[in-house]
Symmetry: C2
Subunit: 240 residues, 2 copies
């Protein structure tokens, strides 16, 4: 199986064979974790960068009162904080969502990769900017979309991202999110997520069950969500 981390970066900058080798090697020490496992916790000093090789993870912030708000999903090929060496402490936590295979790149090695190789630097910049762009889309969803539109939009985002890394079929993909996790991500209650999913199901728009998303009416889903994938910035400026 190809390394999706390297593939992702390589898709947005022309990497030399040496750079590819270096990035691949940095992922050698990957380790498996169970679902729901905290990789790093809010307040910790950041000791490195996590790269998700298989499975899903998420960033989240705890809220006074006991709950949490998920602020991003990390899919295979995505990585955690590059904050290492730049910011003081982590302002959020990272946890696995499913059983996952995670590589940990030490801060020093990461620094070297990011600093020394212009192509790699650019690829990281790109990834960082896309992350921020997704975050802006989340704010829009939370602020201006109804619960149904919000669910639809998240499904569109995740399906598009899965497709970008070759992990989606024509009208379905893995979506290993419990309704509780969805609620944590969407700013809704699990109960309401359940009701919204039922509505989407009975409306013949989409179906989420057993960790699989099936899109029954792609055009309808996109329209409902008000989804436009341009914010995922698929294509790089310079043609490889």
């Amino acid at each position: 199986m190809t390394n999706l981390f390297v593939a992702k970066l390589g898709g947005h900058a022309t990497l030399t064979t040496a750079e590819i080798a270096k990035l691949t090697r940095a992922c050698q020490g990957a380790r498996g974790y169970p679902a729901g496992h905290d990789l790093i916790h809010e307040g910790d000093a950041s000791g490195g960068t996590f790269v998700v090789l298989e499975g899903w993870a998420c960033r989240y912030k705890s809220v006074p009162g006991g709950g949490r708000q998920i602020v991003a999903f990390l899919l295979p090929g995505d990585f955690g904080d590059l904050h290492a060496g730049v910011l003081t402490g982590l302002d959020h936590s990272i946890a696995t969502v499913t059983k996952a295979l995670i590589a940990t790149i030490p801060a020093a090695e990461m620094d070297e990769l990011v600093t020394m190789r212009p192509a790699v630097t650019e690829a990281f910049w790109w990834a960082q900017l896309v992350d921020e762009s997704i975050l802006r889309a989340w704010v829009v969803s939370m602020g201006r979309r109804s619960s149904m539109e919000r669910v639809a939009h998240l499904m569109c985002e995740l399906y598009a991202r899965m497709r970008n890394i070759g992990l989606a079929d024509a009208d379905s993909c893995e979506m290993p999110l419990t309704q509780l996790v969805l609620a944590d991500a969407l700013g809704l209650t699990p109960v309401h997520v359940n009701r919204v999913l039922r509505k989407l199901r009975t409306a013949g728009i989409m179906l989420l069950s057993d960790g699989v998303l099936r899109v029954l009416d792609p055009a309808g889903l996109t329209r409902l969500a008000g989804f436009d994938d341009n914010y995922l910035h698929r294509r790089p400026t310079r043609t490889a």
Copy 2:
């Protein structure tokens, strides 16, 4: 008056005199704009970077149906997208909130600044990461806080940021936001913003009027908001 853009970057990396001069010079061609003026619009190819020297600006995304969601406020010293040359098109718009003095740095010049000078690069990285961190805090606010907590949290954020750039008094600062703009930022209706502000006023917690925020009960406001300023990452890692 000092250039807050240069001051901000200088606060997080040790800049040489030459670098300071270069950054300052890049802001020479500043221009005034009226309030509510679009500096760049969603979908445009990004032609440079905006630096806010005086006044306030915001990033926003339009939503199908006519409204908009503000996703960030740009205070004096803040700058718009560094996306130039990395991403395809802009996924959001930038507009002035008040009458503002804005410098426009051409993409080429920006590239040179960002790429050639390690200290400047690092400062930009830092600023970018803080922006993202603020965005995460917004998602948490929208997802998990009541309208009153949300207003309180935004006031805390903006007051803290104003203080960081030396534009706040002990218990008050400029806050040139209409209730309509606040509503666009908080994902609420203007009517409800009005009611929340009244509640905060009659509770003796804070007072927002005539473009000025007066914090009557700092501890109470912070507690209500669940505000912890560590996500603004005030201090850099390397001691200057």
